[in-house]
């Protein structure tokens, strides 16, 4: 029948890794946020695919939860990035290092 589930898995894994790569390389807070979004969506792909595979809706419902939460997360994130900019005049996450060791 349709596309075997492994492919979805590979796809989601790929997206997850891309997001992770973004997190590790990007210094801009917003980029960081986007990469996190990617990773969350990788999870969503899985949920939908597996939900199809298992023939129950749990996964799909969960993916909706995830999106909602992702949105909320971004909202909070943006707020924090804002005050970050206010205090450090920059959105470079590696600049703020007053707390360490």
């Amino acid at each position: 029948m349709a596309v075997p589930v492994q492919y979805y898995l590979v796809l989601s894994a790929a997206i997850f890794c891309i997001g992770l790569f973004g997190i590790l390389t990007r210094r801009n807070a917003l980029m960081f946020l986007m990469s996190v979004e990617l990773m969350l969506n990788a999870a969503n792909i899985n949920f939908v695919a597996f939900s199809f595979q298992h023939g129950n809706l749990t996964g799909q419902v969960f993916s909706l939860f995830t999106m909602a939460l992702a949105a909320a997360e971004v909202a909070v994130g943006i707020g924090i990035v804002l005050v970050l900019y206010r205090n450090f005049a920059d959105v470079d996450v590696t600049k703020a290092t007053t707390l360490r060791w």
């Binding site: 899985n46 595979q53 939860f65 909320a72 703020a96």
Partner: protein, 509 residues
């Protein structure tokens, strides 16, 4: 004591604590929206305190009257289950939250949008209570986020304080990463088992052929879940946010995160792993006990050794809280099946309870020191006892109780954890814990040394000028009294804790 089975109907009433908290959060919003401009600190703090305290009372009553003894009351088709463990942890969260709200009045004086602060605290507490009861990975994830999002805000609450903002940023970024990992882990587990309800997951795995086919996938998923919990409990390697967040955040928030939020992380860890992934079944594929053993060793060692060389008391407490996460991880790391797991699990729960009071108290004392503008380093605390002896007695109680001396409940719970490790045959884990514990005595006693043994170096003026902060001071005192009383009176909680641990473990296979 024997739980007298109080059948509660309708069953959703078992969620009263969570409901109470939610309602009070709304009340706070309401008050704020009525007159947003001039904020009445006392009123808001009072409302928040009353709310959390009443939730605590309800939880306590439920706990002792045996609501949710044994299997517990399952709500919403088993999405949530209110059993002994849920109520026990609810009690921890709410009591800590109450202390925090009480203590924040003076600390936040002068900052704007106080209502937001309190409502965030109450909401986060609500999230925790739901986490305690979460019986499905879905509810786990949602409640976890319900806790996390307010926490980010709370950490960054002092918008004009660079430390607070930076701490919030780091906490948020690591948190986002972890929740992504967590969500992906959930998706994999779901993929393997086709369900999110913990008992169903267990039964799906029970057969064994699922494991045979998709063991690897499950393993990856489980390890990612471990990552999610490690983030909440501030365990290595997901602990990096903790020192910064605890140091940068407002001291009450640090107390809140390091005591309650940590406990919340543990309660889901306890439940998910004991219920969904009984070690007997999955040991062949993914020996999460071994994983937690490794995490426990690394976490407690890193936490304590790093704490030993700090100059800043708050940061020392932050690292020590990482170390304590390591101790409590023994509760999972010693579920080897040999010996009785209830000892370690129960001891872990008790330790989190006691820790809730002594660690909160310690951070609140730091808050008081900041309020007095004493300073943050050990040297700044020199001779504090000459000015504020009673408060210093309280701090001494916290420190020695954290170090595991028989002046507070920390002694019993900590040593019983070690004993449990020996009983489970992982004596080497107990050995490592012992070394760490001895080291921790060293750095905790540095605080005591500074307060009692050293001479003042002239930075204690603030105590006279600013006087005693009533709310903060009383919160510290309550915490101290509770810590001390928990040594002789631990029996009240230990019984329910061990019953709860039993119940959870019996739910497993």
């Amino acid at each position: 004591m024997m739980p007298l089975q109080a059948p509660i109907s309708p069953d959703w009433l078992a969620l009263t604590p969570a409901i109470v908290l939610g309602v009070f959060a709304m009340v706070l919003f309401l008050l704020d929206s009525i007159d947003p401009d001039e904020s009445n600190d006392g009123l808001l703090a009072g409302v928040a305190t009353v709310g959390t305290a009443s939730a605590m009372v309800v939880a306590g009553v439920f706990l002792l009257s045996g609501v949710g003894a044994g299997e517990g009351v399952s709500v919403f088709n088993g999405q949530l289950v209110v059993d002994g463990m849920a109520l026990f942890f609810t009690f921890i969260f709410t009591s800590v939250a109450a202390l925090i709200c009480l203590a924040s009045i003076e600390y936040l004086a002068g900052t704007d949008d106080i209502a937001g602060y309190y409502s965030l605290v109450v909401l986060a507490t609500t999230g925790m209570t739901v986490m305690a009861a979460a019986n499905s990975l879905a509810t786990v994830f949602v409640s976890l986020e319900l806790l996390s999002l307010p926490s980010y805000g709370l950490v960054a609450y002092l918008k004009n304080d660079r430390g607070s903002v930076e701490a919030g940023m780091k906490y948020f970024l690591i948190g986002a990463l972890s929740s992504a990992v967590f969500a992906y882990g959930i998706s994999l587990v779901y993929g393997v088992t086709g369900s999110l309800l913990l008992p169903d997951i267990a039964s799906a795995l029970a057969g064994g052929e699922t494991l045979a086919n998709l063991g690897g996938l499950l393993g990856v998923g489980v390890l990612m879940l471990v990552g999610g919990f490690a983030f909440k409990t501030a365990s290595v390697p997901f602990h990096f946010w903790a020192p910064e967040a605890y140091e940068g955040a407002p001291a009450p928030v640090s107390a809140f995160l390091s005591s309650a939020s940590k406990a919340a992380g543990f309660v889901i860890a306890f439940r998910v792993f004991t219920v969904a992934f009984p070690i007997e079944t999955v040991a062949g594929t993914i020996d999460w006990v071994l994983a937690f053993q490794i995490l426990a060793v690394v976490t407690m060692t890193l936490g304590n050794f790093a704490a030993a060389t700090q100059e800043n008391v708050k940061r020392m407490l932050a690292y020590s809280s990482v170390g304590h996460a390591g101790y409590v991880l023994i509760g999972l790391a010693a579920l080897t099946g040999q010996g009785s797991g209830e000892i370690v699990l129960g001891a872990g729960m008790i330790h989190l309870l006691v820790y809730g009071f002594m660690n909160t108290g310690a951070f609140l004392f730091v808050a008081m020191a900041e309020y007095w503008e004493v300073g943050r380093t050990f040297e700044d605390y020199n001779g504090l006892a000459t000015k504020a002896p009673v408060a210093c007695v309280a701090m001494t109680v916290f420190m020695f109780s954290l170090a595991g001396l028989p002046i507070g409940g920390g002694f019993l719970s900590k040593y019983y954890l070690f004993a449990g490790a020996v009983g489970a045959g992982v004596w080497w884990l107990a050995g490592v814990a012992a070394i760490n514990s001895a080291l921790s005595l060293f750095y905790y006693s540095r605080v005591v040394k500074a307060m009692w043994l050293e001479e003042p170096n002239g930075n204690l003026g603030g105590i006279d000028t600013r006087g005693y902060p009533t709310g903060l001071y009383s919160a510290v005192m309550i915490a101290a009294v509770a810590t001390v009383l928990l040594l002789p009176a631990l029996g009240v909680f230990s019984d329910v804790a061990f019953e709860a641990a039993n119940a959870v473990l019996r739910l497993g296979p």
